[in-house]
Structure formats: structure tokens, C-alpha cells
Symmetry: C2
């Protein structure tokens, strides 16, 4: 099961099979039924999750008990509270599974070791951080500027792979709109495409 994780590391950190053996003991495997919470708010997120199979999300819960989704992660994606992991501070986020999932998780020792072994890893990590920033900036811009309809259209565009696997209410939560509003937007879109 951890095969696509191994492949991912070998490809991206540029290390040998030999070297990977040193890391293997620090790789943990986990299967979780849909709806399992893997990280709670206020815990310190001491691990990063890599999705081998399935679908996870991270989210906050506000004073009204409402959930606000920060990120989705499907196959070959990472998910964690980056800040909590990096700064050892309590997590803002919950993480749970949206589908039955198979997950790898690793802790800091893994990354430390990998950094020693690989000369490519640091720059790969920087690249990942930069991509993350680019994506977040785009999202901030959408949240500042866009209507519900524009947000939704952009979402299905940029999340094609997972759109059909997500309950609509979760997409709504990710976009910062009410599920009922999303229903309405979809109805309006369906109409537009017939009229002319």
C-alpha cells in the first residue's frame, strides 16, 4: 500500500532505493473509515498525512459550530496543519476523512533524515511552499472579489478530479457560501445553458 508514497519520495527527493530503507521505519501506515477524525483543533499537529487512497479535508469550526473547509486532499496529496507542524503550536484545524482512506503519515524525524540524505529535498520543499502560497493568494483574491457563481465555476475548473466525489455542502463550505445558495447558483447555471 505505501507504494505510491515510496514512488513519490524517490521521484521528488531524488534518492536511491538503498537510501529509502533508512527512512522506512519512520513511515507509518493507517486505514480509516469515512468520517474518522485524524487531527483535532488545539492538538499539536506532529505529523503530515499523505493520501495513498481516498479523500481527506482540513477545516475549522467557528463559535456557531459551523465548519469552514480550508483544504481537500486526494491521492498523492499532502495534508496537515503546516503552521502547527512547523512551529509546534496548537492546530487551528481539524482533519478528517471524507471517504474510506489509506493514509501514510510521517513526523519531523522523517523530514530531518530526508534533508540529510537528499540534496534535492530542500529545494523541492521550497517549491511546494511556493506553490501553496500561489494557490492561497489566488483563493484570497477570489474570496475578496468573486460572486458565488464565479467561485463555483472556478472550483469545478480547478478541482475537476475531485468535484464529483465531494458532497455539495462541502464545496459550499470551501467557497464560503451556504449550501442552499450553491443549489440556487447551480439551478441558475443550468437555466442559462438552455435559454439562448
Amino acid at each position: 500500500m505505501p507504494d505510491n508514497f515510496k514512488k513519490y519520495i524517490l521521484d521528488n527527493a531524488g534518492i536511491t532505493e538503498e537510501n529509502y530503507k533508512e527512512l522506512e521505519p519512520m513511515v507509518y501506515t493507517l486505514k480509516a473509515k469515512k468520517g474518522t477524525i485524524l487531527l483535532e483543533q488545539d492538538q499539536i499537529c506532529d505529523r503530515a498525512f499523505f493520501v495513498c487512497k481516498g479523500l481527506l479535508r482540513s477545516y475549522t469550526v467557528d463559535e456557531m459550530g459551523k465548519e469552514h473547509i480550508i483544504q481537500f486532499a486526494s491521492e498523492n496529496w499532502w495534508i496537515a496543519d503546516r503552521s502547527s507542524f512547523y512551529f509546534d503550536e496548537p492546530s487551528e484545524l481539524f482533519i478528517d476523512t471524507i471517504e474510506d482512506s489509506e493514509v501514510i503519515y510521517i513526523k519531523k524525524d522523517f523530514f530531518n533524515k530526508l534533508e540529510q540524505i537528499s540534496d534535492k529535498f530542500t529545494s523541492f520543499n521550497t517549491l511546494a511552499l511556493q506553490k501553496n502560497i500561489r494557490q492561497m493568494q489566488k483563493r484570497i483574491n477570489y474570496l475578496l472579489a468573486a460572486t458565488a457563481e464565479k467561485k463555483y465555476l472556478d472550483f469545478i475548473e480547478t478541482h475537476r478530479e475531485i468535484t464529483y466525489r465531494l458532497p455539495l455542502q462541502m464545496i459550499a463550505s470551501y467557497l464560503g457560501i451556504a449550501p442552499e445558495s450553491l443549489s440556487r447558483v447551480r439551478w441558475e447555471l443550468a437555466n442559462k445553458n438552455f435559454k439562448p
Copy 2:
């Protein structure tokens, strides 16, 4: 004038005066009157700006001509389109000066050289990226969840130093609300604090 920049680099990259001399030719200085545009959308942002004195902002402009502020930068802060700089792609952002300002800018050669010279620089850079991500995630969460009032209260809390230097319309733009709404919020807040 570049003195606080020099201090900033020596402190954070952990290099000697001697080493700094090698970098100096790659450090550019610039004075700009309030309202000067330093970066236009669609240009490639080939430089990062460091504010010695004054106040800058980055922002997008939507199809309606409306500005949406992404970031402010006052003394000892950096501002740039990180993604454009890193990935050599056209910038989403404009950058201009909100006050008469004195600015340092440096290009990639500076960072490359610094990376060679300093053993601390890479980890310092990673720290900066992580802090950036933390701050953006918090902002996304506010944009998803908070009312205009909460957003404003959080802003004056976390941007104490610059709040009084910013026109209210720019704060409104940063928060994703209309300037008139911000006026209303401020009026309501002023009332609350007298009634009880």
C-alpha cells in the same frame, strides 16, 4: 538610506560585513512619491522590494475596475508578487506606494549569491515562507467565516502599527467590504462602547 536593509541582512542571513560587500552591487535604491506604481499586472515581477521608509501595497484590479488589496508593507517588510518572482510568470498584482517611500529592491542574483555565502539563509527563507502561509491561512479563515465587524476588529489588532496611516477605504478593500460598510461598522462600534 539602505542602512536598515544592511542591518536586516546581516542579522538574518548571519553574514559578515566583509561578505556583504559582495552583495552591495546588487542592491538597488529607489525613492518614490506617494501613488507611484512599482509593478504592473502582467509584468514579470523580477524584483523584491524592501521598505526602508514609507508604505506600499499590492493589489489586484477586477473587471469592474475595483481594487482588492492583497498586502501592505511598511518599514522593514518585503513586498513582491512571490509567485511571479519565483516562477517567472506574469504578475497578478500591482504594487504601488501609499506614502512617499524609500525602497530597496533586489533581483534573483542577489538571492543566489546570498544562498552561496550564507548557511543560514535557506532556513531563514523557509521560515519566512512558513510565516507567510500561516498568515494567509488565517486570512482565508476570516474571509470564509467572519462578519465585517470581526474582520475589522482583527485587522486593527494585528496591524496596529499601520492602521492609523491607512485610508479607511484601503482597509475596507483589504477586508473585502465596501468603504461605506466599514463606516457603518465603525459607527456601530462607537455606539456599543457608550450604551452599557
